[in-house]
Amino acid sequence: MADVAVGKDKCGEQRLVSLPLSRIRVIMKSSPEVSSINQEALVLTAKATELFVQYLATYSYRHGSGKEKKALTYSDLANTAEESETFQFLAVHRSYEACPPKLHTERSALRHMNLFPSDGRINSICASSAE
């Protein structure tokens, strides 16, 4: 599937989804228990991810201190992860038990990701002490 970087396709119509389906698919397939993904599920996951990005950005901006300076900063996002129940799955906790059970199987993939450490330092999600 061709990567789509812009919102319009060859005919000038608005593409349903701007995120590249090929990349979304790679991420989905990195999940060990997933066998196959039908095309509709792929499109919906990509679309949901776009909605998520929009929601995370606007929520963080509205609730963050960067609002006065007309800026969205890292700390706005870190605060969102810490304080909002909806976005809590993004927060990094030191204890393994604090990780949402659903993410346990994605440890190996997520270990490479640095998200929003609760103690302010850059740390991998589901700390390596779990290994």
Binding site: M1, A2, A5, G7, K10, L16, S18, L19, P20, R23, I24, V26, I27, M28, S31, E33, V34, S35, S36, I37, E40, A41, L42, V43, L44, T45, K47, A48, T49, L51, F52, V53, Q54, Y55, L56, A57, T58, S60, K69, K70, A71, L72, T73, Y74, L77, E85, T86, F87, F89, L90, P100, K102, L103, S108, A109, L110, H112, M113, L115, F116
Partner: protein, 146 residues
């Protein structure tokens, strides 16, 4: 199997554009904020996939489908996404149906022309080139390396 970190990241340009379009004009987005949102999006994909997969397994299916993704959104407490997702699904299905009908129609037209080939030879050659180009485009889009 270890994945290289860059394999699980989404393209910065697209993420940045989505953020910019969501926020009011003139809001500055720090590089760290953008990077964090991008990583969060990847985590979201994984979380959603895992959740959707649980629903597929409950239904004794090995292939994730659209309803699994919608159920996952509900489960993850992103109900606000469900309506726009359902609309996107409808639009996608209409688009697919349109493509299928268009290629079936072209096949019918092609068959008809072969019958009257002697009369319209030069016109056929032009149309065949168009068909090949359109088929190539469709094949690119339909390719799913499962």
């Amino acid at each position: 199997m270890a994945e290289r970190p860059e394999d699980l990241n989404l393209p910065n340009a697209v993420i940045t554009r989505i953020i910019k379009e969501a926020l009011p004009d003139g809001v500055n987005i720090s590089k760290e904020a953008r990077s964090a949102i991008s990583r969060a999006a990847s985590v979201f994909v994984l979380y959603a996939t895992s959740c959707a997969n649980n629903f597929a397994m409950k239904g004794k299916r090995k292939t994730l489908n659209a309803s699994d993704v919608l159920s996952a959104m509900e489960e993850m407490e992103f109900q606000r996404f469900i309506t726009p997702l359902k609309e996107a699904l409808e639009a996608y299905r209409r688009e697919q149906k349109g493509k299928k009908e268009a290629s079936e129609q072209k096949k019918k037209d092609k068959d008809k022309k072969t019958d009257s080939e002697e009369q319209d030879r030069s016109r056929d050659e032009d149309n065949d080139e168009d068909e090949e180009r359109i088929e190539e485009e469709q094949n690119e889009e339909d390719e799913v390396d499962n």
